[in-house]
């Protein structure tokens, strides 16, 4: 039992050691936040589907070092993303830029929503026009019966 417990504790310790591997020193919180944000928005080219912050691969480490250098140099987000895209392509951006190549990505969902709305409208409309004559006939029939009943009473 104790053995198991110790084993579990040792697992906890090992992850905290891993977390301590890349610590970067920043002179202010704003820089630290920008570094954090950018390393989460930039994608690791090697270990796909991981961002730079989460990845332990060599290239991610290099790019984090480069990112750290640029952030502490005071470069703008624009400058940093241009640097990365120039070398690794649009692929590295988890938040792709809005340009003709990514229009479908950005506006596609709205287009589909609009398409859905149009389909629903058309369906609703066609049902109405189809049902209307029947309802009208029913209404006329009702009126007739009411009239008949009333006439009967008067007799």
């Amino acid at each position: 039992m104790i053995k198991h417990y110790l084993w579990m504790v040792s697992l906890l310790v090992s992850t905290s050691l891993f977390a301590a591997i890349d610590t970067y020193e920043f002179s202010n919180d704003a820089q630290r936040e920008r570094f954090q944000q950018l390393s989460e928005e930039l994608r690791c080219p090697k270990c796909q589907n991981q961002n730079l912050a989460d990845s332990n691969s060599g290239i991610a480490k290099d790019l984090k070092d480069e990112l750290y250098r640029m952030v502490t140099d005071g470069q703008s987000t624009q400058q940093i993303t241009t640097f990365m895209v120039d070398r690794y392509g649009e692929f590295v951006l988890y938040k792709p830029k809005v340009n003709p190549m990514t229009y479908v990505l950005w506006y596609g969902p709205f287009g589909l929503l609009a398409l859905g709305a149009v389909v629903v409208l058309i369906l609703a409309r066609s049902k109405k026009t189809k049902v209307a004559p029947k309802e009208q006939a029913a209404a006329i029939e009702h009126e007739q019966r009411l009239k008949d009943l009333l006439d009967k009473k008067h007799d």
Partner: protein
């Protein structure tokens, strides 16, 4: 008319299916290089074997060449090395090496042991040239035209399959590998 409309979901499924089936045969690890059609990045680095010689991008012009990014820590580089030797010796391909994030002594030892297919090697131990090239994993092989413009990138080992790139299209056999690409750029094999 109404009946035809009922087929719309089916048609959409078929179209999506075509995309999905195509997606199965795509390799997501093969990224398009952001550097295609651009000049080889400027650099000034030591030669691997002769540290006193400085190498720069101007030495990559004049001929169609392969630029091969390699390192001794990379198992796939070892795998492709004998094929690179063959390309250099029997096909007369001019290959420039970039020794990427490696130790000089180990790399020199490697070339002595396994043969040296390179015209020269750029010693990029810090990976700065690799970074400017957008290298994300060795080995990578680039085709550079006579003007020093990057025309193609292959990620992974270069072997006979990659070199020739035999493809069957409409019943005829076509070569679409690195060799065909180099020839199209005016490469003159000797």
């Amino acid at each position: 008319m109404r009946r035809i409309l009922l087929f719309i979901p089916f048609v959409i499924c078929v179209i999506l299916g075509v995309f999905f089936v195509k997606g199965l045969s795509l390799d997501p690890t093969q990224l398009p290089s952001a550097k295609i059609g651009k000049a080889f990045p400027a650099f000034s680095l030591e030669d691997l074997i002769k540290p006193d010689d400085l190498r720069s991008q101007s030495q990559l012009t004049g001929e169609v060449r392969l630029v091969n990014v390699w390192a001794t820590w990379c198992p796939t580089c070892k795998q492709e090395h004998s094929f690179l030797n063959k390309l250099a010796s029997t096909e007369g391909v001019k290959i420039i090496g970039i020794n990427y994030k490696d130790e000089r002594s180990k790399a020199v030892q490697w070339l002595k042991r396994y043969g040296d297919p390179y015209q020269f090697n750029v010693y990029d131990n810090k990976g700065s040239l690799g970074l400017d090239l957008g290298v994300y994993g060795a080995p990578e092989t680039y085709i550079i035209d006579a003007q020093g413009v990057i025309q193609y990138r292959h990620v992974g080992a270069v072997d006979n399959k990659v070199w020739l790139g035999v493809k069957e299209k409409d019943g005829s056999v076509k070569l679409e590998g690195l060799k065909a690409k180099m020839l199209a750029l005016g490469w003159n094999p000797q």
